[in-house]
């Protein structure tokens, strides 16, 4: 466990340093060191590149990745379905339809509106899924089915808007939704960090409850767990975490689905271990995706959400399959 965490932290640190150094203007190791320790003045060109452009971006990517992975771990535990990710709760489809509507219907919305609409859409959808599936208690199957139903309604609205909206607006909305960390600023990073720190800590403190509920409702109940209340609280946490991540960076898919599986294979079934490892895996995945997305065919930048699919999918396929062979 400790060794695994250490390795992941080193990988993440390496990626962060690479993200700070590489780009249109590549900085040497010495330049970067001097800029970071502040031996040059803060107004130099290098300082501006590092502190104003690259640092916020890499921090945002790491935060978003950790948030998505944590939300994915929670969903996996409370739904007990290997395909469960925060999208099952309607978070993605809710955010997508809200953002698509704002961009297509308002033509030229103020910059702050899409993220706010994204969060509002995600939260409203998660609340609707939970309330509509509540009938004297919760059931993971009913939540999943309700999520499918409401999700496809929202999806139909999104499809309608994208089929008949102005083509330029549709494309702009698609880029936003593809998930990217282009417009990061330190203010945004600070806000997201303050927003996430309490839910993330709560999720980690609740890891024993997650262990229990994963055994099944009946088992968890016989251990004295108030299953319905736990599941409800976890859904609230999950919405706060992944809704904020979606608002900050759009729909970066796949991280929430795959990071918990990888973490589970690395450190076993205990959530006290899975949560931090999954968060690190998620951060690594998004930081690496953003780095590759802006380097591969520079100056064109590929949104991070697309790179996670392009690079992350084959990579994790090989990882999962190798582990499986190793176990026999």
């Amino acid at each position: 466990m400790t060794r695994c965490l250490l390795v992941l932290v080193i990988i993440l640190a390496g990626l962060v340093i690479a993200s700070l150094a590489l780009g249109d203007v590549a900085l040497s190791r010495q330049d970067l060191w001097e800029t970071l320790t502040g031996s040059h003045d803060r107004t130099s060109r290098n300082a501006m590149i590092v502190f104003d452009l690259r640092l916020p971006r890499v921090l945002l990517a790491a935060l978003v990745g950790a948030a998505l992975a944590t939300a994915g771990t929670i969903t996996l535990a409370i739904m007990r379905n290997p395909l469960a990710e925060p999208g099952v709760l309607g978070i993605n489809s809710g955010a997508a339809v809200a953002v698509m509507a704002v961009i297509v219907l308002l033509q030229d919305p103020p910059a702050l509106l899409p993220p706010v609409a994204g969060f509002a859409g995600a939260a409203a959808m998660a609340a609707a899924v939970f309330l509509l599936s509540w009938r004297g208690g919760t059931s993971s199957l009913r939540i999943i089915l309700t999520g499918i139903g409401l999700g496809s309604l929202a999806g139909a609205a999104t499809t309608f808007l994208s089929a008949f909206g102005d083509i330029g607006d549709v494309q702009r909305a698609m880029i936003w939704l593809a998930g990217s960390v282009y417009d990061a600023s330190l203010a945004k990073v600070r806000f997201l960090f303050l927003w996430l720190v309490i839910p993330l800590a709560l999720a980690w403190m609740a890891s024993r409850e997650l262990d229990l509920i994963r055994f099944g409702d009946d088992t968890a109940k016989s251990f004295g767990q108030p299953v319905d209340r736990t599941r409800g609280l976890m859904i609230v946490l999950c919405t706060l975490i992944s809704g904020a991540a979606v608002a900050a960076a759009g729909l970066i898919g796949f991280v929430g689905l795959v990071a918990p599986h990888v973490a589970g294979r690395l450190v076993g079934p205990s959530h006290a271990r899975i949560l931090p490892v999954a968060a690190l895996c998620g951060a690594i995945l998004v930081v690496a995706a953003d780095l590759l997305g802006r380097l591969v065919i520079a100056p064109v930048q590929i949104p991070a959400g697309i790179v996670t699919g392009l690079i992350g999918a084959p990579f994790f396929a090989s990882l999962l399959w190798k582990r499986r062979h190793a176990r026999g």
């Binding site: 009938r135 199957l141 009913r142 999943i144 496809s152 089929a163 698609m174 699919g309 392009l310």
Partner: protein
Amino acid sequence: MIRPYGMNTARRMANDGGRPLGLLLLFCLLVAAVLWSLASGARHIPLATVWHAVVGFDGSREHLLVMLIRLPRVLAAVLAGSALAVSGVIMQVVTNNPLASPGLLGINAGAAFAVVLVMTLFGTGTGDVYMWYAFGGAGAAALLVHGMGSFGPSGHSTIGLVIAGAIVATFLTALTSAILIFDQNTLDAVRLWTAGSVTGRTMAQNAAVAPYILTGLAAGLFLGRHLVTLSLGAEAARSLGQNQAVWRSVSIAVVILLAGSAVSLAGPIGFVGLVVPHIVRLTIGADYRWVLPFSAVGGALLVVVADLAGRMIFGSQDFPVGVTTALIGAPFFLWLARSRAGGGS
């Protein structure tokens, strides 16, 4: 995951013997919807004329309208709807996962990627050509998923297939969005197709995929008994002497045939394959010998009605049927899920 709610309803339904009657009723509804769809539109055509157009085509304006525009369109809706619904049933049994649909085999993502790639490389053209690219893309993606899913010592596990499907679909979807984000012309040309549509289908297109879909439907109905066994879980199936690897592969081959044809005919309609099986199971129970025919008729009915509604309510000939299926089906499905699924706690 699927069993709990299905089995309870199955017990409830086992005694009343209402299923053949129900199926007949549903089929009559489908026939009525098809006839209504042929008769109504911008120009109303009496049913007698529709009938004469089919049996004694005389080349008049109304006969041309029926034979060249409305009939192909309705046929495409029937074929695509039944194929998607049946392949959805099979997918949910094979993966034992209520979130599964033909899309999980990479069918939709593969078809969309193939069509978008061809459009970008060779420019936009007519719908006839894309059908085969869509079919090829869907088939290739599904074979890849199946290969990955059954690869390795603990292969043939449902979880392997599920994760392989998620990975391949994610990868192909990412490639597709990467192309669309940078290529506005292709996005403009393909966005109606990706919404799912049966507008402007020709008799030739229907005839091209009909053999595959009919074969797939026949094979799917024949699979019913084996699906019941598969749905009982690995151990029960083994103790009943079922060779799971073989039947799972056969099932997936049927899904590829059905869903691949449907997607190439009507575009990637996700809703039908995902939700119609749930609606049927929530209504009549989990006996797959009955779920399959009910889904085939129900899926066709949903798509025909959705297409009709798109034309009548929104008054537009090319309102995407993928949108109206969800608008019509989802509220009903939500009500069913709320009132019947998962018991009290």
